[in-house]
Structure formats: C-alpha cells, structure tokens
Subunit: 417 residues, 2 copies
C-alpha cells in the first residue's frame, strides 16, 4: 500500500513532525519507507491519494474498563470508593449474562473504533465467558488489545467476589484460550490492592512469570484508597511496593493507572522498572481524585501514556482526552507553580507514541513501525487553505469521529462491527 | 402543538425536575400547560409522541465570538493579550471581506444550531457589513440572538482600529437596521476597556440610554489585562467601575465575560446591578487565565450563566461546556477548599435558565415560558431501559448533535441553514 498525504506525528516528546504531501509505503502492515516523491520502483503502483487531508497515528488507550461503557457520565457526584459500590460494581454484575455482554461489548468495541483507538489495554469483569465474548469481538474487529478478566476475591460485593482457586483456574483457561488469537493478548488484571487477597496476588505473580504476561492494575488514585491500602498492608512500604512484593511490577510490562499520590520511593521504583503510569486526567477530575503532576513525572523519566479510564472518564475519544491532559496541566500549574504545562504536541505523543511502545513498534510514522493511522478530513470545519497544524488543532479540540475518514490498524482498514 | 415525552429541566438552581410521560401544550411559541394526562379539550388534537426520549430546555450561550469560529483550538499555548494579537485579530480582519463573512458566519450559525443553542449573545467584528450578514443569517435561521458590532478605537491593530465617529455612526445604523428584525436584538459591544477610548465609551453610554440597549463586554479575565486597565485608568477604583462610570452597567441588561479577578467592591456592584457574569470555564483554562470561583459568586447572588466563549473556548457544544463547569468547580475545590462543587443540575441550570432570564421568559418548561427545547434520543448509547436521568447524564457527558433529534426555538422547529 502506498498512501500520499500530509503526515503529522510526534516521534519525540514535545516535537511535532509535519511532512506535507509525502508518500508512505506499507508492506504487511509495516512501514517500509517514507518519501518526498514517489520512488521509481513504485511508479506503477496504485496510490491512495489523501492530499488535503492529514494523517496522524491512531490513538492508543492504555487504561479502559469495557463493562463500564454504558456508565459514562454516571455518578460523578461521588468519589472513588462510593462510586465503585454504587455505580461500577452493579453494572459489572450484569456481565454474568452473556446476552447483555454481547450487546454491551459490541457497543464498546464500536466506540473504540469510532474514536480512532486502534490499541487498548482493557479491563473486563470477573466473568470468564463474558471476557471471551469481548476477546472474540476484538479479534473480529481488527483492532488490537490486551484484555484481562478482573481478579478480585476480597472487599467486593457478593456478585463479584471470587473464590480464589476459581479465579486462578479461569485466568489460566483464558490465558490459554487467548493464545489462539491474533489481535488479543492476555493481560493479568488484579483489580487493585484492596480487592485482591495476598493468596491471589501470590498466584497471579506466579502466572505472570510462568506465562510471561503483562499486568494492569490501579495505584494511588484517591486519598481514601491509599489510606485503605495502608490499613490492609500495614507492613508494606507503600501501595506500589505491595504489587512489587508479589512480582506484579514486571519491567516495561506493567500498567498502573492514576498514580496521583506517589511517594518519592514509589516514583523511583516505577521509573526504574519502566512501569507505565496511565494518565487519566478526565477521570481524576470527574471523581474529584486529584491532579497528577504530569510534567514532574515526565521529568523524572516516568512513562505516562494517556488513558480514557471510561467510565471514570466520560469519553473514549482520545482526542478529547489529549485536550483534557493539556488543560489539566495548565490547572496544575496554577497550583504547583513551577510545574511546566504541556501543549498539543506532548499530548499527542502521550496518546500515540508513549503507549505505542507498550503495544510494540507503534505510534509514529517511521520505518519498521506498524502502520496504525487515522485519515482526517476537517475541511468542512475550516476556512479555505488552513495549514496542516491548524487542521490538527481543530480536530483535536473540536473534532470527532465524523472527521476520521479511514482507520488503519497494522496496515489494515478497520470498520465498525 | 402538543408534545408528549419525559421533560427534564431546572426551574431552580440545584434542582432537577423530571416529569415522565407528560404533555406540554404550546400555543404561539408559549407553553400554555403541562399535563400528566391529556385534557379533554385537546383529545382530538394531533400529538407529537416522543415517548422514550427526553426533552430538555434548549441551550443558551451568553458569550461567544462568531468570527473566531474557525479558530477553535488555535494558539492555546499563549495567554490572552498575546493570543488576541497573534490569532484573534488576524482572523477578525478577514471579515472586511463580505464573501468570507458569508461563509464563516453561515458555518457559525449552523454550529450553534447543531449544538442545540437556540439563543446567544454574540460579538461580531468591527465591520458593519459583515455584522449585517451575521444578523441576516440568524434572522433566517429561526434562532434568536443579541448581536453587536465590536467597538474598538485604541490599542488595536491597524486593520481593526476604528475612527471614533465612524464607530458610533455605524453602530447607530446597525441599531436602526436591527429594529426591522424579529429574531435579532442589537447589543452594544465595546470590546473591553483596553481597546475603547473614553470618548467612545461616553458615546456608547449615551446610545445605551437613548435606545434602551443591552451591553456586552469583558472584565478581569487575565492578570496582565487587569494590570493594563489599571495603568490606562489609574483613577478608576476598579476595572468594573470603568464601565459603570460611562453608564455601561445597565441593571439586568449587561453581560461581562469572565470576571475571574474581581474585588469585593466589584462583586457588590455586579450583584446590585444584576450584571450577568458570563462563566467561560473552558476558555479560562485554555488561555491559562485562571479559575472563576463559581459557587462563591453564586452564594453572593451573582448571576453566572454559562458561555462557550469560542474561540477562547474550543467548542460551541453547551453540553460540553456544562461538563467543563462541573469539572472546573471540582478543580477549584482542590484550591479553594471551602468552595462548593457543582453537579449536573447546577450546570444545566446555568446553561438554560440562568441565561434564559436575560433573553426573556426562557429556559424551563413552565407555563408562560417560551418553548425552547431539544428532543434527545440516546437510545443507541444506552443499555435497555435506562432511566431518564441516566439518559441526561450520558447526553451531557458524551453526547453530541447526533442525538438531538429536534430543536425548537420559541415553539418553532429550527433546521440547518
């Protein structure tokens, strides 16, 4: 495939690269070359001409709860622990019903596709069968994802609280089942420290090692939650250290969402172990959790890819979540006056390249990268002859799925289920 | 017209009213009754049945710059005064060209309609002819608006800086011209103190009195701007008092946008004169202006209707601006810890009823109110049998124009130009 357009990406944090009217050559999903004019060996090939449009890397969503899709906007008068009990757990219980799961997960996957999210790290629920349904839908759709059945066996409502052995057995069944899939990778998904017993944590740590798995969970989202972890694990040095004790901080392979209230020791271990802190600015405001000091973390060398965190966050649209990141960095600078703000280039990087490293060689238009891309046409939103960067700004700040003309994941066009 | 549906509105600040499966009767644009069952005298009338959908009051946008519509998302790395010089003034200069104005203003008015905004207080540019074009488009569209040509005769770029006499002459011509329109009311629009000479301010004050006009301007948006006003008017007690000196604070008839850095004296005069402080939370973050203490102002009795402030704000969508107001009130409570946060009920009130008082008897579904309404169908976004409040939350937080099935302004259906 050869595609001609204006390519905008962020190969380096803080830098926007705009290549106008260039040609990208893709073979077997991989970019094999980017050219200012068409090389002679491709002279007779069919060229997909998207002149006047812009092409950006597809979005990645590094932390999202599929079963909470219908709950967007619900219950934001509450804070985390009450919100989980009153809104989140009740809807998750419904995924015992396969028919409900089939409809809800199909709507969710279509929501990702519409938004231009081609890769995601996804929490399902505790239910094995519903998790298989989600995996099948993703497999069929052509987007790629790490999906995990949630593990939780303490401090949980009856309908979701698992028997520890059964939780492990079903996890193993899903790990093996996912090995047959092309687009889905299994990711271990202990919900968060408060709802996972030590016994379960030990066994999940063993599975992580045995099957070479990625891990996703939550950390330090809310002050009451941090305090609860302190009461549950009085001997642990910190919330993050609890995961580490059980072998769940896997170098460059673990995602912890939020990380608002990290101690210096936690920041250090997270940086050293190359843990991904999923930055969820929208969710952190909706649930009054607090503000993560993004630029401070980035300066320390911590990876902070962006995430929607639906349904703490209210939208899957990663362009909007990128804008929230910019806005919250400005608000943070009102409070922490020496912290830097970020702009659109940093936010686009965090929504594409930063998380792209987790998923593979993804997130920018460089040779040997997988071609994950969105073709964007904002002409009807613009005055005539707007430049490419203006088009990008308008799409990110006030654009939506209507303006995403084509979505590619690993070189293949993705359409709605 | 008789319409059956579930009506959601906020007749009082902080209270949501949900009336399920009721009948609203509208005659000549005015609500004449709301009934739980259809009264016998209407038994043979045709009923518009919107069962399963929700109907909310249409949005009002109390502060928006029509010529900046194409600039959404542009230049938010800058703060107010630099942003005006680098982005705002250059696009406003283009409205000397009637053809450009015709296209841009048509796109803008369609943007309002799509978003469900049926009333707005609008800044045009200094250009008389372009302002007439905008007024004609609104007149034709069926939405209602207060529109003003901007007055500015100092500290302005050459292409926009007016001759004082010409500024007044053209304003008078527009005032008279607007008298022939049904849907448009002329509103005096001195840009802001820094760009309006004392001579011009005096003459605008005279016009306000002579023609019984409303007034719109800006106040205390940005610390550098406040300091500039202090230097320009060293004898004035405050920024707000400058407007008062020239008769531009008209009781219940003046809108001042932003008002972030008001002194106690300013808050008092604004409350006493029933001035509307247009609350622009999105814009105030985009331009790093600061955070307006909404709940503090509301407790003082100040009117704070919501506004998009496009293009300081990045979207005309008032559902999103309402969400921003909720979110920014939460962030404000991180800083001003005793300030209350607001929820969706308060935000909906500020986007409908608070501003509805400025435009007339508008903004709730009560007898004698004009029927401005949006019929909303979020069924495809929802699980089955979601309740009405869930539907409202989902629409406000992640809905868009697609889900607004019908728009009514003063009882008449409004469609795109």
């Amino acid at each position: 495939m050869i595609i001609k357009s204006t390519f905008i990406d962020t190969p380096v944090y803080g830098e926007i690269r705009i290549r106008e009217n260039e040609y990208v050559v893709v073979e077997n999903g991989i970019i094999t070359g980017i050219y200012g004019s068409i090389p002679p060996e491709y002279a007779n090939e069919n060229i997909i001409d998207r002149t006047g449009m812009i092409i950006i890397p597809a979005f990645n969503d590094i932390h999202v709860h599929a079963p909470q899709f219908y709950n967007r906007g619900n219950g934001y008068d509450l804070q985390l622990l009450d919100w989980l009990n009153n809104y989140t757990f009740p809807i998750e219980e419904k995924f015992a019903d396969a028919q409900f799961a089939q409809k809800a997960y199909r709507d969710f996957v279509n929501g990702l596709i519409l938004s231009g999210t081609m890769r995601a790290a996804i929490f399902a629920t505790v239910h094995m069968d519903a998790t298989k349904i989600l995996m099948e839908l993703i497999e069929k759709s052509g987007i790629k994802a790490c999906v995990g059945k949630v593990n939780m066996d303490r401090n949980s409502p009856e309908g979701l609280c698992e028997d520890t052995d059964k939780s492990i057995d079903e996890t193993i069944e899903l790990i093996k089942w996912a090995e047959g899939l092309k687009n889905v990778e299994y990711i271990l998904t202990p919900r968060f420290v408060p709802s996972v017993s030590e016994k379960l944590m030990i066994r999940l740590g063993d599975l992580a090692q045995k099957y070479h798995l990625c891990v996703q969970s939550h950390v330090s989202e809310n002050k009451d939650e941090v305090e609860l972890v302190r009461r549950l694990h009085p001997k642990a040095e910190s919330y993050t250290r609890v995961y580490d004790e059980y072998g769940l901080l896997r170098k460059g392979r673990t995602i912890l969402a939020h990380g608002i209230y990290l101690t210096d020791d936690e920041k250090k271990i997270i940086r050293d172990k190359e843990i991904y802190i999923a930055h969820c600015p929208d969710s952190n405001v909706n649930l009054s959790s607090g503000i993560m000091r993004l630029s401070h973390y980035k300066e320390l060398g911590i990876k902070c890819p962006l995430a929607s965190d639906v349904a703490g966050g209210n939208t899957l649209a990663m362009n909007k979540n990128a804008v929230y990141a910019v806005q919250i960095s400005k608000v943070n600078s009102f409070i922490n006056k020496t912290d830097k703000t970020i702009g659109l280039s940093e936010a686009l990087y965090l929504a594409t390249k930063e998380s792209g490293q987790f998923f593979g060689n993804v997130g920018s238009f460089d040779e040997n990268c997988e071609f994950d891309a969105l073709v964007i046409d904002v002409d009807s939103l613009q005055p005539d002859n707007a430049d490419a960067y203006k088009k990008l700004q308008l799409f990110m700040y006030d654009g939506d799925y209507r303006y995403i003309i084509t979505r590619y994941c690993s070189g293949k066009e993705v359409i709605l289920l």
